[in-house]
């Protein structure tokens, strides 16, 4: 009589692209939590300000943007105080930027671990996306505090959060999907062809300028606006501002397009990443 054997693992060459080890991911949820914690601790250990760094950098960036783009170049900010305008835009952009940059190094950065032990390879990028969410949370609280101070000092300002602010988690989820998809795709491509190592930082630099972070979408002439809107990050950043500051440049059609593009990027990115992660230790 056979004893009950709940687990049977078959190891063979697979050919499919879209195979997700859901059970494995659930089984390793503790590892995801511990990796988030590791990221957090190792980032801020032996720093004086600690997690306050997550607050300081966006504030300083917003101040510099406010000076350069608001004062020097005279960019309009949809009638919102510049500091709030930039902070609101950076909230979404920073999350996207940091998550994509970090996950685009998943395979090469984790080679030492991946070549010695198996766990579902999506564990590490998911942990990265989550740990960046923590610092975005801190930034959101900062945003709220600064908002309160500015509104308190000048009651005439009309910028108000809308009910859409309740959808912020969905917006973050949207950015996470897009950043993970893009990051994993880059990570897989870089593991195979080193040429692409140069691409991620360069690409993100350019993307910042074609995304309405430092200017409102309304500043783009009407006939070119579609160009900015096919960039899937743009509608999300606009949505962030619409939710937090009640600006009115949110366009549902562009947003729907962005959702579709993001979903496609996520599927392709995760698929290609998983395909490569299966034997990438062989050529690294």
């Amino acid at each position: 009589m056979n004893q009950p054997e709940p687990i049977e693992l078959r190891i063979r060459a697979r050919s499919g692209w879209l195979w997700l080890d859901w059970r494995g991911l659930v089984a390793y949820r503790d590892l995801i939590v511990l990796l988030v914690r590791r990221d957090y601790v190792s980032k801020y250990k032996q720093t004086i300000l600690g997690p306050a760094w997550a607050v300081v950098t966006p504030i300083v960036t917003a101040l510099v943007f406010g000076f350069v783009f608001g004062r020097v170049l005279g960019v309009q900010t949809d009638g919102v105080p510049p500091s709030l305008f930039y902070l609101g835009g950076l909230l979404g952009w920073n999350y996207f930027n940091q998550t994509l940059t970090a996950t685009s190094n998943t395979l090469r950065g984790n080679y030492a671990i991946f070549s010695k032990v198996y766990f579902p390879r999506l564990v590490t990028p998911l942990a990265t996306a989550l740990s960046n969410l923590l610092s975005s949370g801190v930034q959101l609280i900062t945003f709220a505090a600064i908002y309160a101070v500015i509104i308190g000092a000048n009651a005439g300002i009309t910028a108000r959060p809308s009910w859409a602010a309740l959808a912020l988690p969905l917006l973050f989820l949207h950015l996470a999907a897009l950043a993970l998809g893009g990051g994993l795709l880059l990570s897989a491509v870089t593991a195979k062809y080193r040429d692409f190592q140069q691409v991620a930082p360069f690409f993100l630099n350019l993307l910042l300028y074609v995304t309405p972070v430092i200017y409102p979408l309304s500043q783009i002439p009407e006939k070119w606006r579609w160009l900015a809107a096919i960039n899937p990050v743009a509608p999300v950043i606009e949505a962030f501002r619409a939710a937090l500051l009640g600006t009115s440049s949110f366009d549902p059609a562009y947003y729907a397009l962005s959702v579709a593009v993001s979903a496609a990027v996520l599927v392709i990115g995760v698929g290609y990443y998983q395909r490569l992660a299966r034997d990438f230790v062989d050529y690294a």
Binding site: L9, V117, F119
Partner: protein, 416 residues
């Protein structure tokens, strides 16, 4: 009899040699375009097969629950590839392996340790990486800490640990895994001698505990002999067979071919950063070329080229077992007399009336030195076979252990 816990059938792994992996994007695109236009040339294909290398070819075996199995073979026999596939680090090219049970593999100790985290945090992180759940780790936590002997430093970041402490902690976590199948690559030899004994003891406990199946790769035949009942012998990527350990070790030893007794050592690589500038061993001969026999006289002749005067020199040779323990050293200065070697060519001879090493194969190392300074050190210059003796040998056939010396015997009757 239950079903085998591990069933491997026709497992193969092909690697492409050369720069295939990190090919540049341009080359790959070119290849795609060619293929798409249906113009993949014959020479491209031929070149591709030429650069292929089968690290594992058509390997099949099955293992029953509770067995402790060694995997042995020379370097490049495919041991690591087999472990990597069974640990799911890489995929096979063809074939299949079925594992019926929870698997944990230890190809390294301390995978994923983070220097900034404390010992406590690293225990949890490393445990989770190895596949343990949080409550499991928590339940074993005290045991792990006690095993690693680091109670006092448990909340110190591991970057402040000595390398010994680090390794002990890492092994302790690994040793407390409780999967049904445990895959281990020579990670045993960690820490000081005392801790190593503790590690091996722990491995024996793991191996003997009920229902645990262990796959164990090692070059250390002593450990293999002690832990494993059967061994998988691999050779050049193919399965040579699965034998009882003693028989497997014999096969292995036969694979590691022995060298001649007259060795030109001038061109061999040097160890320990010794240069062989002042004095250099250029030839080492043993006996008269007839072979080395237990219990018979041994004569070793060293030819040395000396460039600058060696005032108080010594020449030595050491014999290591295949498992790596040093069982005999002969030094020219053991009787208190040093050698004075002027620039030029010399031969130095060391002799023993009776060779005491048990029949078997020994890796030999030789050195010339002056005081603490080593002028020339050659590790593993030969693998010499010592045969069971001729006329005088009535004892080697029952020899266990590395050396067998003849003690003088006195016998007194105390009472009858």
């Amino acid at each position: 009899m239950s079903r085998p816990i591990i069933e491997v059938s026709g497992l193969s792994k092909r690697y492409a040699l050369g720069e295939i992996g990190f090919s540049s994007f341009r080359e790959e695109t070119q290849r795609w375009i060619n293929r798409w236009r249906g113009r993949e040339s014959e020479s491209d294909k031929a070149a591709a097969t030429e650069r292929e290398f089968w690290a594992l070819r058509d390997v099949s075996f099955s293992i029953n629950p509770g067995e402790v199995i060694g995997i042995i073979g020379r370097n490049g026999a495919g041991k690591s590839t087999l472990l990597k596939i069974l640990s799911r680090i890489t995929e096979p090219t063809s074939g299949e392996a079925v594992l019926r049970g929870r698997v944990a593999s230890l190809l390294e100790v301390g995978t994923g340790f983070h220097p900034e985290l404390s010992g406590r945090e690293n225990i949890f992180l490393n445990g989770a990486i190895l596949g343990m759940k949080r409550p499991e780790i928590a339940a074993k936590f005290d045991e792990i800490v006690a095993f690693a002997e680091i109670e006092k430093f448990i909340d110190t970041p591991v970057k402040r640990y000595s390398s010994g402490m680090y390794v002990k902690l890492a092994f302790a976590v690994a040793a407390h895994l409780e999967p049904e199948i445990l895959i281990i690559d020579e990670v045993l030899a960690v820490g000081d001698a005392q801790f190593q004994r503790k590690c091996i003891g722990r491995m024996q406990t793991i191996a003997n505990s009920e229902g645990r199946t262990v796959l164990f790769v090692s070059h250390a035949m002593t450990t293999i002999r002690r832990l494993c009942q059967r061994c998988i012998v691999l050779e050049g990527g193919r399965l040579r067979g699965v034998y009882p350990s003693e028989e497997a070790i014999e096969h292995y030893n036969r694979d590691v071919g022995a060298t001649e007794l007259d060795v030109e050592t001038d061109a061999l690589p040097r160890a320990w950063g010794s240069t062989g500038e002042e004095a250099r061993l250029i030839r080492i001969q043993a006996g008269d070329g007839r072979g080395l026999f237990f219990g018979e006289p041994l004569t070793l002749t060293f030819t040395v080229r000396v460039r600058s005067l060696i005032d108080a020199g010594m020449i030595g040779i050491a014999f290591n077992t295949v498992e790596g323990s040093r069982v005999m050293t002969l030094d020219s200065d053991a009787n208190g007399e040093t050698l004075r070697l002027a620039p030029g060519l010399h031969t130095v001879t060391l002799s023993l009336p009776s060779l005491p090493l048990s029949p078997g194969r020994y890796y030999c190392h030789a050195a010339i030195g002056q005081g603490q300074h080593m002028c020339d050190v050659i590790d593993n210059f030969a693998l010499w076979e010592i045969h069971a003796g001729g006329r005088n040998d009535w004892e080697s056939d029952r020899a266990f252990g590395g050396c067998r010396l003849r003690a003088s015997v006195t016998h007194q009757v105390v009472a009858l």
